[in-house]
């Protein structure tokens, strides 16, 4: 019985619990909230992509909202102009965003670190006016309206429930992909590239390929989330994809925990429900909390909420184990999964 397998079982149990909670949402909450939870799920997919890129591969990107917008517009355009079935538009949305990610990712190989932050920041500022300007494609400020797909006749619930479960299926798919990517050699190559490119390269990791793949995948995730968003929202306009959307995703990623998968969901919940709740008091409050949370997280909890929780459980279990048997000696540590600065626990 190694510590690793206990940990694995705990994690699996955690994910199962989250899954059950998510499945119960349509049964518990009224339709409007179910709709909002669907939005949360689409955001969670985009944030998960950002975590893969930023948390696990160490590339800074402030432009996740751009890829999200591209996915949403692709779905909207294919649904309205070419009357493609909404499910069939999703792969197209993923492909378009991923392609754009590839196009940005290639020069980004030369822009690692701060320059990549400038470029993605610029992209986040530039794209909303561009969407307004390309009226022939995006219909400018009017936006594109679609009809919400109705559930098939065998489906027992209503439309909102159907769309929610659709998004949930999307999240499950993405989480599985993320797990697969983070396991084994792919995962090690991703993390090694982040932690020390030089050593990774000398061990045979193709840095350019790994970084490019990470950028493309992350953009593809955002495109998928964006496509789903367009479907459930049934309307896209530049208004929904301001620069702040990119910042929102960044906030969600940081708050939830940049090197975690479940953190993406927590982050998405945070960026959907906090502005709603705080707007009653002051429209500036959510911005203030966002900004404060970003700075505070970096000062005290770099792994976000999930990091805080897991270090708490580790401490708790450590205390329990110590009081029970105090037999944990040296040489029993797990292999660090994250940069060492956060790894020292009592």
């Amino acid at each position: 019985m190694t510590q690793g397998s206990t940990e694995k079982r705990l994690r699996a149990a955690g994910f199962a619990a989250i899954g059950v909670c998510l499945l119960l949402v349509p049964a518990i909450f009224p339709d409007f909230l179910v709709y909002q939870f669907s939005i949360v799920l689409t955001y969670a997919i985009a944030i998960l992509g950002l975590n893969l890129l930023m948390g696990f591969n160490g590339q800074i990107s402030v432009a996740q909202g751009v890829f999200f917008a591209v996915g949403a517009y692709t779905t909207a355009i294919f649904m309205t102009r070419y009357s493609v079935n909404f499910l069939a538009t999703l792969p197209i949305a993923v492909a378009t965003s991923a392609l754009l990610g590839l196009l940005v990712g290639i020069p980004a190989l030369r822009w690692q670190g701060l320059p990549l932050a400038f470029i993605t920041f610029g992209l986040a500022v530039l794209v909303p006016p561009l969407a307004l300007k390309l009226e022939s494609i995006t219909k400018g400020a009017t936006g594109i309206s679609m009809t919400k797909p109705s559930p098939p006749s065998w489906f027992p619930g209503n439309q909102d429930t159907f769309l929610y479960l659709l998004c949930l299926a999307g999240v499950v798919l993405c989480v599985l992909i993320a797990f697969r990517l983070l396991r084994g050699d792919t995962g090690r190559a991703l993390r090694a590239t982040r932690d020390n490119g030089l050593i990774a390269e000398s061990l045979g990791v193709n840095l350019a390929a790994v970084r490019l793949a990470a950028f493309t995948t992350s953009a593809g995730f955002a495109g998928f989330g964006g496509g789903l968003f367009a479907v459930i929202n049934a309307y896209v306009s530049p208004e929904s994809f301001q620069m702040t959307k990119s910042f929102d995703f960044l906030v969600g990623s940081i708050v939830g925990g940049i090197t975690s998968i479940s953190g993406a969901l927590i982050g998405a919940l945070f960026i959907v429900f906090l502005p709603d709740w705080s707007a009653d008091m002051n429209i500036a409050l959510s911005g203030l909390i966002y900004g404060g949370a970003m700075v505070l997280m970096m000062l005290v909890a770099r792994d976000g909420v999930v990091g805080l929780l897991s270090s708490l459980t580790v401490k708790l279990r450590g205390a329990l184990a110590a009081s029970a048997a105090r037999k944990t000696g040296p040489g029993n540590e797990t292999i660090p999964d994250r940069p060492p600065e956060r790894q020292f626990q009592t």
Partner: protein
């Protein structure tokens, strides 16, 4: 031809503003290796202070001087309270913190003054002279003169004063400077304060044209980033040249390239930045960092 020269003049004037903000960014970068994305938002907040003082009946010139001092304190405090604890952390952490400032400072301005744009008085008189068909406004000349004074003041500070020397030393050798008795952290704090003041000057110059609103400086920051990247992040001269180039390029493209127009002006600095990063990542005047492995 007249239009062409006219646009160059206009471009130089806005370029001088971008150059000032870029100068602030470079000051901070040289001192602490941080790119402060939030410089523009901090500056916007300062301009709101000046506007508010002016509303309360403080004479305009006096309010500018008071706020320049407030900005200095604000920059120094931001460094002391929120940057110093994580000094030396990864670029990644710093970008996140600065974006946090960006969102936070904009929210503070929104909280107190709302989203409605407000008129901010011009710093210079309205006189206009016409020379050979090209209009030269006192405002544009004043902006250029301000940049010159700012540059001369900063280079004098860094070159001829003891404190300037200490600041340069702290920026260049953070570990070794304490050995000769330089209080490095105080110097870095002064650097942040100074940058905030320079940023305030830039924002006060551009506020009459853009109208004062919380997101006023969002796109201006892109211009400043492009200017600093073009000039090279470790070169103040470079940031000034870069700012002027970006300003002129923007003005010419907006007038003569139909698709860009006024809506997509922000694409110009973006494109310049992308090109320079591909061709000469260290910028025109920058030096390549040599890393021993």
């Amino acid at each position: 031809m007249q239009l062409f020269v006219q646009q160059i003049v206009e471009g130089l004037a806005s370029g001088a503003i971008y150059a000032s903000l870029a100068l602030a960014l470079v000051l901070i970068y040289r001192a602490t290796r941080i790119v402060n994305f939030a410089q523009g938002e901090m500056a916007t907040l300062s301009v709101y202070f000046a506007w508010q003082l002016n509303q309360w009946g403080v004479p305009f010139a006096l309010s500018l001087i008071i706020v320049a001092a407030i900005s200095f304190v604000m920059g120094a405090l931001v460094f002391r309270l929120m940057i110093r604890p994580v000094l030396g952390a990864s670029d990644h952490t710093m970008v996140v913190i600065c974006i946090g400032f960006f969102i936070g400072f904009e929210a503070i301005a929104l909280w107190f003054w709302g989203a409605d744009p407000r008129a901010f008085p011009r710093l210079f008189p309205d006189a206009v002279w016409t020379i050979g068909g090209v209009r030269l406004s006192a405002n544009n000349l004043g902006i250029l003169a301000t940049l010159c004074v700012l540059t001369a003041g900063l280079s004098a500070l860094f070159r001829f004063t003891r404190i300037g020397l200490a600041m340069r030393a702290s920026a260049a050798e953070r570990e070794k400077s304490p050995l000769v008795g330089i209080p490095v952290e105080t110097m870095l704090m002064l650097g942040w304060g100074l940058a905030a003041t320079v940023g305030f000057v830039a924002a006060a110059l551009i506020a009459p044209a853009l109208f004062l609103s919380p997101p006023m400086m969002v796109s201006v920051v892109i211009y400043a980033l492009a200017a600093a990247t073009l000039g090279g992040w470790d070169s103040p001269t470079g940031s000034i040249v870069g700012g002027l180039v970006v300003g002129v390029a923007e003005s010419l493209c907006a007038t003569f390239v139909g698709f860009i127009g006024t809506d997509l002006k922000v694409g110009v600095p973006f494109a310049l930045m992308a090109v320079i990063l591909l061709l000469r990542p260290q910028g025109l005047f920058g030096t390549t960092a040599v890393i021993r492995v």
